[in-house]
Symmetry: C2
């Protein structure tokens, strides 16, 4: 038992300040993290500041157009107390409310789209970080998402560089010698969650350094797609009401057809 040294440590990174379009985010983060981060650390960056640096800001009255343009596939829609919630699959393969288009912590009258290429953004930040700390680090770009069956939201990985996001243990054996058939911890999302606990939503600290997981730092790692399950492999690819309606329409036609036979 290690009372002195934690097995996992998360540090907030202050002083990032307000990010505006055109800011050299990798440089800014590398400067602020200098002195905190070490080789083997994983840097968690809130997607919001990546989007701001990329100028992914649009006028709020274009919000619905923005959501439509980000949407690949509508998964579910619900109206609750006059508020319409649209769960959609976006261009990154992520299933999120409003396609991840975000109105919080943005200037009045504006909404923020997700970064265009979060894996590439993560790679640029990683390059700047590694030059600063003089060794390998990992970088994850995080965003906040709701999930079925559970209240509240957790942070997840939407882009990454140099981090193995899925600890695939399938085919290995557990302590009792049994074959692990499905065990594959989504460590990327668990790291995003740990970082969110210190970054917080209201505090608005956009960057955290996670130490103790160097075993997942891997230059050959895939990006954010490693944690995306495609609709064809998913048992919940469509909202319950939408699927039931789809089935009803097909069944009704079949019922009518049965009339003519």
């Amino acid at each position: 038992m290690t009372g002195a040294h934690p097995d996992l440590s998360v540090f907030t990174v202050d002083g990032i300040g307000e990010i505006v379009p055109g800011d050299d985010l990798p440089l800014i983060i590398a400067e602020r993290v200098n002195g905190v981060a070490r080789p083997g650390d994983i840097i968690a960056v809130t997607s919001k500041i990546v989007s701001k640096a990329e100028g992914r800001l649009v006028h709020a009255n274009d919000r619905d157009d923005a959501i439509r343009s980000e949407t690949v596939r509508v998964v579910a829609t619900r109206e609750h107390r006059g508020r319409v919630t649209r769960i959609v699959e976006n261009k990154l393969g992520l299933v999120m409310a409003a396609a991840g288009v975000d109105a919080s912590n943005t200037a009045d009258g504006t909404v923020l789209l997700l970064p265009l290429h979060p894996d590439e953004s993560a790679a640029s930040i990683r390059m700047a970080m590694e030059a600063t700390v003089g060794g390998m680090v990992g970088v994850i770009i995080t965003d906040t998402a709701g999930r079925p069956w559970r209240e509240g939201q957790t942070d997840i990985v939407i882009g990454a560089s140099g981090v193995r996001l899925l600890d695939d243990l399938r085919g290995q054996r557990d302590a009792a010698g049994k074959l692990l058939e499905v065990t594959a911890p989504a460590v990327g999302d668990e790291i995003a969650a740990a970082a969110d606990l210190v970054k917080g939503k209201s505090s608005g600290v956009p960057v955290a350094v996670v130490r103790g997981l160097a075993r997942f730092v891997d230059a050959e790692a895939h990006g954010g797609r490693e944690l995306v399950r495609g609709a064809s492999d998913d048992m919940f690819s469509l909202g319950t009401a939408e699927a039931r309606q789809q089935g009803w329409d097909e069944g009704y036609r079949a019922g009518l057809a049965a009339r003519d036979s």
Copy 2:
């Protein structure tokens, strides 16, 4: 920026050893954690050892019966490569594969059911912990669950005592002064995820101490149900295939009925 002191620290607790039915788990954990934990810490305990102490072990050939007896509602079923996956809602309101009945890290020919009353188990552990550390702590009982749309599994809270699991910010304002309409971080599940990163699946370390979140330690907190979303509030209460089939049957009957009109 705090390079010296992490904002969040997670410590593994070694030497718990193999737990058998009848073990006084609160006492065992309190003894092992003594010297590590401090007031304000949150102790994350893997449900597996709680179940073992409660003797929730059943013969593997009774596995299907066990799953049926734990099941309140079948959410989705899929067969893949001859392996049937049943996603069901269990007695705790949790939606999990095989109702949370677990075959890994158990003696050959046995499977493990989830603890009967994880909130009460958490309360007993908390009481023993607080006597040991001489101050308030929080306790969460965790288990591993898959989720729609994302690959891999993350740890979630299935029972808790003395920890606020949902950081409900709805109605508050963000840094930009905007009203937060849906923001409610599921900090309980994020703490479970952070703890899983050090406990790990193959290492088999069942307990971790999480430091830096004393603001969520709250004697008045609700238990694990705080993070359970009921089926009636959920847009994904039924698997897509199941909902489509349900709709089809209803639509077909309606189509046939139209024949007689």
